[in-house]
Amino acid sequence: MHELALATGIVRMVEAAASREHFLRVAQLRLEVGALAGVEPEALRFALTAMVGGTCLAGGEITIDETPGLARCLSCDASVEITSYIDACSRCGSYALQATGGTGLRIVDLLVVNE
């Protein structure tokens, strides 16, 4: 559900970029979603598709790159990849993990055109 609020934020940021960078249309919007960001990529895509009509994003392609979650193990000090907060350390099996990456949602870049 919060994907709708996030999509609104994305459209707003892209529209701001359009007036700043002087482009008319976005042919491709590339997003990056971390596994620990709390964002469901398909729900975000659905929300974006529903609200781009009438904006510079209308008709553009939406690409969502999913990046793994990263964590430091408080037990064995290893840096490991995780897919969710409920995962265990892949090296020692401990659940004492602290997330260090893959927690964000970013607009990476835009492929823009002026026609």
Binding site: M1, L36, I86, V108, D109, V112, V113
Partner: protein
């Protein structure tokens, strides 16, 4: 590999000219996507890439930082209470306000209430004598930093702090009942407190890990109902700690008063700089600190 035709040529090496119209190279092949963007869109003459590298939540984070600075300037410690609907957040807050009034530790308290509709919760808070502002989010599923900033500006706590020293003030922000969305939105709080009641099931921390990962404290509420439900406290704490090894736990019955002393002990003195521990969390029950390892390993 060429992203247009898959021919194996490096983009911008074997392919000449501008994008859009298509250009012949020495072999007579047509290639698109050799413009600045390295790609082509049918019917368009030129495309370019704009690197944003922008955090989608940046604007909310900026407003949350502003709230945090604003709270600090007014000597206010803000706590963001999150839970599913019906866990007893408002009852806990009313009981907390009454307990704070009855204790010798004088702190001023105000509440920002978040719900999709109605002012019922704010009215319950105001009945205790504490100032409260209701935010109705309409169809929104969470509070954001902008809403909280605007609500704080309308609170008595805010104007009062301009007139006198208000060190030791607590602002409770009761978020919309929802264990998913509020995890993402920083409101400028010193800590998130997640409330889970024993009628909900002990597996909630595993089902909604993002929220329990974001919280500094888990309050297990309605423990007076334990005789009537199958709720494994030890397992619940174990699950919460699996998701967040630093989380602290307090067992409470807001209606009967169990654990309210532990909760006030955790709360006071207000720690505007944050409640996050750096060492593995602990659980408190009936006024005593219980080693989490002992609770988390139920005897078979």
């Amino acid at each position: 590999m060429c992203i247009v035709c898959g021919c194996g040529a490096e983009p911008n090496s074997g392919h000449a000219g501008a994008a859009g119209a298509g250009v012949k190279d020495s072999n007579g092949d047509l290639h698109y996507g050799t413009g600045a963007a390295g790609s082509s869109v049918p019917g368009l003459s030129q495309a370019r890439v704009i690197h944003m590298e922008a955090d989608v939540l940046a604007e909310n984070k900026r407003l949350a930082s502003r709230n945090r600075a604003h709270f600090a300037a007014h000597g206010v410690t803000a706590l963001n209470l999150v839970s599913s609907p019906g866990s007893g957040k408002t009852t806990l807050l009313c009981a907390s306000i009454n307990a704070l009034k009855a204790s010798s530790r004088a702190v001023s308290v105000a509440v920002i209430e978040g719900d999709q509709q109605t002012s019922v919760d704010a009215e319950r808070i105001r009945a205790t004598g504490a100032p409260a502002i209701q935010i109705n989010t309409g169809r929104g599923c969470h509070l954001d930093a902008q809403m909280v900033g605007e609500a704080f500006a309308r609170l008595d706590m805010h104007s009062a702090a301009h007139q006198r020293d208000a060190s030791g003030a607590i602002l409770f922000i009761e978020n919309v009942g929802n264990l998913v969305c509020p995890a993402l939105w920083d409101l400028g709080e010193a800590a998130k407190v997640v409330v889970l009641s024993v009628t909900e099931g002990e597996d909630k921390p595993l089902k909604y890990p993002d929220m329990f990962a974001a919280a500094s404290l888990m309050i297990i509420n309605k423990i007076d109902l334990m005789p009537y439900v199958t709720f494994d406290v030890a397992r619940c704490i174990q699950y919460a700690q699996r998701v967040n090894p630093l989380i602290e736990v307090i067992l409470v019955s807001a209606t009967r008063g169990d654990g309210m002393v532990d909760w006030l002990d955790w709360l006071l003195p207000p720690r505007a700089a944050g409640y996050r521990r750096t060492k593995p969390g602990r659980a408190r029950h009936a006024g005593a600190l219980v080693p989490l390892a002992r609770i988390a390993n139920p005897t078979p």
